[in-house]
């Protein structure tokens, strides 16, 4: 897995030992099987995630208390090659309703063998989140589960 950074975007890539259709389906409709359950902005715990597989659909987090958060709009849905969705969460961890202030995640899938898929994820237009980055700085220290990340990263 490699990562490159540009001024206002982040790109991460990985090779998955799975066929392209399968990789695409797990990433999209199976998002709840891999998304870090600590990464949500609900008040309650995360009960399930729904990825509506169509342009104009949403990624929806549902809480254990029945609450719902539609934090992403599906901007492109081109199975099994490409999916693009918005990041409608402000840097102060609120739902961002102004599309001009949201960033965008594009994921491409390239088959490199019958059971191997190259996945490239780019999160771009990060600058659209504008100011409020102080909150993000605090998040880097104490917010979404970077402790968990560090534990995983530390494993051999």
């Amino acid at each position: 897995m490699t990562t490159q950074t540009q001024a206002t975007s982040v790109t991460t890539q990985t090779d998955v030992h799975a066929p392209i259709e399968h990789a695409f389906r797990v990433f999209t409709e199976g998002i709840g099987s891999w998304w870090n359950p600590d990464h949500h902005i609900l008040q309650a715990d995360l009960a399930e995630m729904v990825f509506e597989p169509r342009v104009g659909g949403h990624i929806i987090d549902r809480g254990t208390d029945g609450s719902e958060c539609r934090w992403s709009r599906v901007l492109a849905y081109d199975p099994p090659n490409r999916v693009c969705f918005s990041w409608d969460i402000s840097l102060s961890w609120q739902l961002e309703t102004d599309p001009a202030k949201t960033s965008e995640v594009e994921v491409t899938f390239i088959s490199i063998g019958p059971d191997r898929t190259h996945v490239t994820l780019t999160h771009r237009h990060l600058d659209r989140h504008g100011d409020g980055w102080q909150n993000m700085r605090e998040a880097v220290g104490s917010g979404w589960n970077l402790v968990h990340y560090a534990e995983i990263a530390a494993q051999p």
């Binding site: 897995m1 799975a18 066929p19 399968h22 989140h129 993000m136 970077l146």
Partner: protein, 113 residues
């Protein structure tokens, strides 16, 4: 411009973090920071140099003083944050996709309606 992980490395040091948080609250010169924090003036300068290289602080002259403040763009912080989030997430995704692919290969699973 930052290099990979420079922001988190810069903020990993508690003294540097304190300096950064102090200039983020209010722009300050080296002397003021050295007076308020239990750090010598040369050490403050050194920490500021590292914070500046990481894109976390910026400086400008105000008369005879050089004033340091948090970089208003701060995009490096956001980038480093998402870089870590997505690295972690893609690792989780790979593991989930591979586990499910293995299960599907060994035993056909019923498609959900």
């Amino acid at each position: 411009m930052t290099n990979h992980g420079a922001v988190l490395t810069a903020l990993a040091d508690p003294t540097r973090r304190a300096i950064f948080e102090r200039v983020a609250r209010s722009p300050s010169a080296v002397g003021e920071l050295a007076r308020e924090l239990p750090v010598s003036r040369p050490a403050v300068s050194q920490h500021l140099k590292i914070l500046k290289a990481a894109g976390l602080v910026t400086d400008h002259s105000a008369g005879a003083r050089r004033v340091y403040s948090a970089d208003p763009a701060g995009i490096a912080v956001i980038r480093d944050y998402f870089e870590q989030v997505w690295q972690q997430s893609l690792a989780r995704f790979s593991a989930a996709a591979e586990a499910a692919a293995e299960a599907a290969a060994s035993q056909p699973i019923q498609e959900e309606p």
